[in-house]
Amino acid sequence: MASVGVEWINNFPNPCDQPELSYCDETSVGFLNGMTSRGHTSKFNWGDGNAWEQDFRDPALGGDDSNWIDNVDFAHFSSHGSTSAANVFSGFFGGQQDSCTWRSNQARFGNNQLEYLCIDACNSLELTRDIIATWQSAFHGLRMILAFTDLVSDSWWTGGRGYNFGRRAGNSERLTNAWLDECYSFWLDDNPITMAAGRTQADAINRRDNERLGSGFGDIPNSEVSWFAWRWRS
């Protein structure tokens, strides 16, 4: 059984002032419920002021991810997001523990436990940027990122996507299929995308298309990641 942790932020008071969101709890807690309904284990559910940037930063860089995001098999983050022209993704928090944003260039995931990371935030696997430049340094045993290109909706009507994906992922369905099916929205133009790392081109494609809980692919050290494969519907 997989261990699952989620962090979500709807409220952004000073000094991390941003427009308020309304349904990040729906997507993250929904995902958690979908997974636990299929027998997996909830390790933490941190929302708003309890969601901290240091949970996403590697200890080598002064963070605490080996006790949180990198201490579970499957993690889900829901909040504001953006990827800069310098190819750095920022995920936004509602408090400064230690910073208002976690950044992809300070993430080293999978060197403890994390295998799959869902980022339910805008421009998180952003195709108008260089997604390899953005995320290569984060793959230290992490196998896949499941995220969005362009904007993703914050609304009750699409908020069930977290649960719908969690149910399928928890059922050991193929993760890319499940993420793309459940997160794509014709009405609100949500465009999900998944990316997998591999040692070779064939390995990256195989993992992208066939990774699921219990698939047995194994972790890849960052020094051996040579290819990335990604998929999206538009």
Binding site: E26, G30, N50, F186
Partner: protein, 282 residues
């Protein structure tokens, strides 16, 4: 800050519209088998899987699921859907549209008379090595999308669609639909003027931080997604808007009753309430 409109509501609004009941969805082994048969599966040895939220039917390499709350259907070939096909995808859009229409006609999953071709999606696959970062991208399937209409009004919302997915050979490898059967008329409403709905939208976004731009604005019926029960279908004004503030942009929707009376809410409570947790600062 005033709202910017990149999309506008139609000028000609009907004077009134009907409201329809949506019969409760009842799913059982019989419904599941009948749906599987309509999708071309033999009424043969199969596994039926049942859970609180859906029922599923696995036969050979095919799977059919029906959501209990909505009757939403998902059908796919477990080996072919979402995998690299053996040949390049070069099926013309017109051919894909014709094949998908024929499939829907035969399966009767949705009533074609109430379906309008809404567009084509494609599944994209890409790879690159970390040294050269040269991206190789190609298409692997076509998803033909049909949109529901009721009394010639388009239906909005996370439901109201059927998507037929075809592989390079033109084989249907998946279908997804959220399309609740229409019941009897529940009543009739006079439609409010668009200006009234715009006023409600402006009130809804008044306190948002940032610049608000409306990117879609429609009058239509409204159908919920697969997780939610829905008892009536009624006309709405639906807006999709974007808010830009410094480094972040967010996107959301606002939906208002288009009729002079409501036959039920358009939005529910949160489905997954978050427990209150306390966390000690380090």
């Amino acid at each position: 800050m005033p709202v910017t409109f990149e999309a506008k509501l139609p000028r000609n609004i009907p004077a009134s519209a009907a409201v329809y009941q949506l019969p409760p969805v009842r799913i059982g082994a019989g419904t599941l088998r009948a749906t599987a048969k309509s999708l071309g599966l033999a009424d043969d040895a199969a596994d039926v899987v049942t859970s609180t939220d859906l029922m599923a039917y696995n036969q050979g390499r095919h799977r059919v699921e029906i959501h209990r709350a909505s009757g939403a259907v998902a059908f796919y070939h477990r080996d072919k859907y979402g995998r690299e096909p053996e040949k390049p995808f070069d099926l013309p859009d017109r051919r894909a549209a014709a094949l998908s229409r024929a499939f829907l006609q035969k399966s009767k999953i949705v009533p074609l008379a109430a379906a309008r071709l809404d567009g084509m999606t494609h599944l994209h696959s890409a790879v690159a090595d970390v040294e050269t970062r040269r991206v190789r991208e190609h298409i692997t399937d076509a998803g033909v999308v049909y949109r529901r209409t009721i009394d010639e009004l388009l239906v909005e919302g996370p439901g109201r669609f059927a998507m037929v997915t075809l592989d390079p050979e033109g084989e249907v490898i998946a279908l997804r639909s959220v399309w609740r059967p229409l019941g009897k008329r529940a009543g009739k409403v006079k439609l409010k003027r668009p200006e009234e709905a715009i006023g409600e939208l402006e009130k809804h976004v008044a306190n948002l931080q940032g610049d608000v731009t409306v990117t879609k604005a429609t009058l239509g019926y409204f159908e919920l997604g697969p997780l939610d029960r829905q008892r009536v279908i009624q006309p709405v004004y639906a807006f999709v808007y974007v808010v830009r503030h410094d480094e972040v942009t967010m996107k959301s929707a606002f939906v208002a009753h288009a009729g002079d009376k409501s036959f039920g809410p358009l939005i529910g409570k949160k489905r997954f309430p978050a427990p209150v947790a306390r966390r000690k600062k380090p």
